[in-house]
């Protein structure tokens, strides 16, 4: 196995990357190798799919499968070896189908090589023997670290784009352009590209594509569940039976709320599902009681202490502890061997488990937090915001967004939020916010100082806010008194970073560490060409941001 796709990847004397029998995330060697093989086959589908798209005859089912397949390989999503054996067989069938369509339309065309021609073994032992050429490190002795790093940037960015596209897809928002863009990137990767400018351009093209995908996702969420509104969310438990829903998927949460309708079971959100409370069509359910817990890396303690079943709808899952292994369920792309998986949207088992489990014995003294500042809510008070900036009441905006994680260095983000001066506004999104969103940050110029934009899935909303403010101030985004403090952990964040770079947003402070797959030369490109800044200390970075604004 070799994997260095996430921020917590192993760092040893021999370099970065998880290369032992088990990754830091808990993914074992067989699962990692099978994920590499699945991606190899998806590249093969992409080779044909990009040609079918060009001919105007795309295979929509193949496009859906690519999104789902890539999503299963994100960090902390699917650890179930058996599931990957099935997905590989399904990928081979789909690849054969798109090959047949391509060959029927192009009789006499020379056969495509590489992943397009790969035949996977039919059993686990055979598959594991085939894995090594499918590794991200394959060919490193010929092409060098920089090319491998850039291919990884494209692949990991692509995974993030696919994950967001899948979230939009399950709510019925898709477009052929997305399928075509993803197939194009897979086709490029299938050719084992070595041309650095070509790879960099593809990374930026994915950034642009991701902006469109996130627009679709925003339309999917707001179109289905209404426009997010500022909402006070209870973060303390209520006496009674309880279900906890984690991950990002609003549709799964909606299905669970439907399943408990008419019962007295309280449904709590966890982690990245906190923003669900701001959607009118979700908060209308009386069973949606509040939010429990914080970000993903604390789940082992939080889930163990939760007195009901837990449903993990998307990333980030970590190894379920024996204390709650019998009462955690996975849905969608998520999986763990020996953990019950709900594939058909039927949550009756979860309801049954909730009724059998004790629930919360008593109601805790109530505490609430304010969320729901998506683009419509923020731009609804745009006049007030603009006046506050013009009058000098608000000096600067900090967008502190992205993933949380376990590493001690992530205290930086807590420090940053605490030490940012009182005349600044903090925008936040993603699960990184749990490092500071339970504190009262007060108000400035009649506005809450902390504005929670939503999930990492709502990055579109944040970018939209920035673009609208730039428009109002008649300047570029980089001229706004706005600094982006982005914490990354997994591949969705890689896709958002590519979007920021593609849109020309400079001076993104990226941390807590830089991606291990970026070589010093590639980091040099990001720093020089795109103004990406590694983080230092909260104090120094706040001062530097304010100085830049003043200059």
């Amino acid at each position: 196995m070799f994997c260095y796709q996430c921020e917590q990847t192993a760092h040893t004397d021999s370099g970065a990357g998880c290369a032992t029998s088990k990754g830091v995330c808990g993914k074992d060697e067989a699962t990692a190798d099978l994920q590499d093989l699945l991606i190899h086959l998806l590249k093969g589908i992409g080779q044909y799919s990009t040609r079918l798209h060009a001919a105007g005859t795309p295979d929509a089912a193949a496009d859906h499968f690519i999104l789902f397949g890539l999503f299963t390989t994100l960090t902390n999503v699917n650890f179930n070896r058996a599931r990957f054996v099935e997905l590989i067989a399904e990928a081979a069938r789909i690849r054969d189908r798109v090959r047949a369509a391509y060959e029927a339309a192009n009789p006499g065309a020379p056969p495509l090589g590489g992943p397009a021609a790969f035949t996977p073994a039919t059993d686990l032992a055979g598959l594991l023997k085939q894995a090594s050429p499918a590794s991200v490190r394959a060919g490193i002795e010929l092409v060098g670290e920089d090319v491998i790093g850039l291919r990884s940037l494209v692949l990991y960015g692509l995974k993030g784009v696919a994950a967001y596209a899948h979230h939009a897809d399950v709510l019925g928002q898709t477009s052929p352009e997305v399928g075509a863009g993803i197939a194009h990137a897979l086709d490029l990767l299938a050719s084992d590209p070595t041309d650095v400018p070509v790879l960099l351009n593809e990374a930026l093209a994915l950034g642009h594509l991701n902006f469109k995908v996130m627009g679709l996702l925003d339309a999917a969420n707001t179109g289905t569940y209404g426009t997010p509104q500022p909402t006070n969310v209870k973060v303390t438990p209520v006496a009674g039976k309880a279900i906890l829903v984690s991950g990002h998927d609003l549709k799964d949460l909606h299905a669970i709320l439907e399943a408990v309708k008419g019962t007295d079971i309280n449904v709590y959100t966890h982690g990245e599902l906190l923003p669900a409370h701001s959607y009118p069509n979700l908060k209308a359910y009386p069973n949606l009681a509040g939010n429990y817990g914080t970000a993903w890396q604390n789940q082992q303690l939080e889930f163990a202490a939760f007195p009901g079943p837990i449903v993990m709808t998307s990333n980030c899952l970590i190894e379920p502890q024996p204390a709650y292994r019998n009462r955690i369920f996975t849905a969608g792309p998520v999986g763990w061997p020996g953990v019950r998986h709900i594939a058909n949207g039927d949550y009756s088992q979860v309801v049954q488990a909730a009724q059998a489990l004790p629930g919360f014995p008593e109601t805790a003294p109530e505490k609430t937090i304010l969320i729901g500042f998506g683009k419509d809510a923020v731009l609804g008070v745009a006049g007030k915001v603009i006046d506050a900036v013009k009058s000098g009441a608000v000096k600067h905006f900090f967008l502190i967004g992205g993933c949380d994680g376990a590493a001690p260095g992530r205290n930086y983000y807590t420090d940053f939020a605490e030490k940012a001066p009182q005349d600044t506004i903090l925008l936040t999104l993603g699960c990184g916010k749990f490092r500071f969103n339970m504190e009262d940050h007060g108000t400035v110029a009649g506005l809450p100082r902390l504005l929670d934009v939503g999930q990492c899935n709502d990055s579109y909303s944040a970018i939209h806010i920035a673009l609208a403010l730039a428009n109002a101030f008649e300047c570029g985004v980089n001229d706004l008194p706005l600094s982006l403090i982005v914490s990354w952990f997994e591949q969705k964040a890689a896709a958002v970073l590519l979007t920021l770079l593609a849109l020309g947003v400079r001076n993104v402070r990226l941390g807590p560490t830089l991606p291990a797959f970026l070589t010093p030369a590639l980091v040099g490109v990001l720093v020089e060409k795109f103004g990406v800044l590694p983080i230092t200390t909260a104090e120094a970075d706040i001062a530097a941001s304010l100085n830049r604004a003043a200059a």
Binding site: V24, L124, A125, R327, A353
Partner: protein, 335 residues
């Protein structure tokens, strides 16, 4: 001094003490003592188990120094060289403590199983604090207390974790056993019994990619049935074989149980081994270990062997594996 004492001090001042063997790390020792600290990778990389040693010498195993803040250690890589005091950066509420639950149940049914065994089903009594869920890992056991005494006996669960409060056991009636005597002479449907559990480490390693062979003798089939039902429920696709040994055909597991397992796990191969069969016996003639020996002859691939049965059966398997000297792994529980 081969064993050190570790004292963990939480941020709110609670002290947790436990022993730590030489070359063992603090995190593993704490888990062995029933204290589960925040931790994730267990490999010195993720940084979640960071803490500060305030007293005592230690050695740090291979780890990612970038995951450390100044002067701290990662408990998963910290091996005490002497008694150690460690300050934890969180409160005692953050430490999970595993306590074995004690519950009240009633006898729902008692049916004769095959020769000399009873299929006992208990139902947990409703409890607002603990609920009605039966949570365990297939292969684990519960301790049942004979009513009116302090006598406890451990029996493996044969069914799956469930939310109906149902506990199934397969209990061999030993001629002079105390629980057997209770079952034979005293127990009746509706009686209350105290159950303590789940406990035990005879559980599946679901991360292993090896083929699995289950070997059961007598009521050693109970935990194996639970494991096989679990694999069936999760549509496990790993190559799997079941060997069940008995002295006579009449002591074999009922055909209906075998059929239920093969229906849920289509890939499973089954060997019924009888050491003293009737004349027309078509199956394997010999003991369960002899059947395992024959099975191993057919494969070069190392396998995981899950065995539960009488001590004699397990000793024979251990000797057999020593003689064969392969890379197989034995996960066993003695009856």
């Amino acid at each position: 001094m081969s064993e050190r004492e570790v004292t963990l001090v939480t941020r709110d001042g609670a002290e947790l003490r436990f022993p730590c063997a030489a070359k063992d790390n603090v995190l593993a020792a704490s888990e062995a003592a029933g204290y589960f600290l925040p931790a994730m990778c267990h490999e010195g990389t993720c940084g979640l188990c960071h803490a500060r040693v305030t007293e005592g010498k230690y050695t740090m195993g291979p780890h990612n120094s970038a995951a450390l803040q100044g002067g701290e250690v990662l408990l998963c890589r910290c091996e005490p060289d002497e008694n150690l005091t460690v300050a934890l950066p969180y409160n005692q509420a953050q430490v999970l403590r595993y306590k074995v639950p004690v519950r009240q149940a009633v006898i729902e049914s008692m049916e004769p199983a095959w020769q000399n065994a009873v299929a006992l089903t208990l139902r947990l009594q409703p409890d607002p604090e603990q609920g009605q869920a039966v949570e365990f890992s297939p292969g684990q056991y519960m301790e049942l207390t004979i009513p009116g005494t302090d006598i406890r006996r451990a029996y493996s669960l044969a069914n799956l974790p469930n939310w109906e409060g149902r506990l199934d056991f397969l209990i061999r009636l030993a001629p002079h056993g105390q629980f057997s005597t209770f079952l034979r002479e005293q127990a009746k449907v509706g009686d209350a019994i105290t159950v303590r559990g789940p406990s035990g480490s005879f559980i599946l390693d679901e991360s292993s990619v090896r083929p699995r062979c289950f070997v059961g003798g007598g009521c050693g089939l109970a935990p194996i049935l639970s494991m096989l039902r679990h694999l069936g429920e999760f549509q496990d696709s790993q190559p799997t074989h079941l060997i069940f040994g008995a002295n006579r055909e009449s002591e074999l597991v009922p055909q209906s149980d075998v059929e239920a397992v093969t229906a849920a796990l289509p890939q499973i191969g089954v060997t019924l081994a009888v050491s003293a069969p009737e004349e027309n016996w078509q199956g394997f003639q010999g003991t369960a270990p002899a059947a395992l020996d024959a099975f191993l002859s057919q494969t070069d691939e190392p396998i995981d062997i899950y065995a539960c049965g009488p001590p004699k059966m397990l000793e024979a398997i251990e000797i057999l594996l020593q003689q064969r000297n392969r890379d197989d792994r034995l996960i066993a529980e003695r009856l």
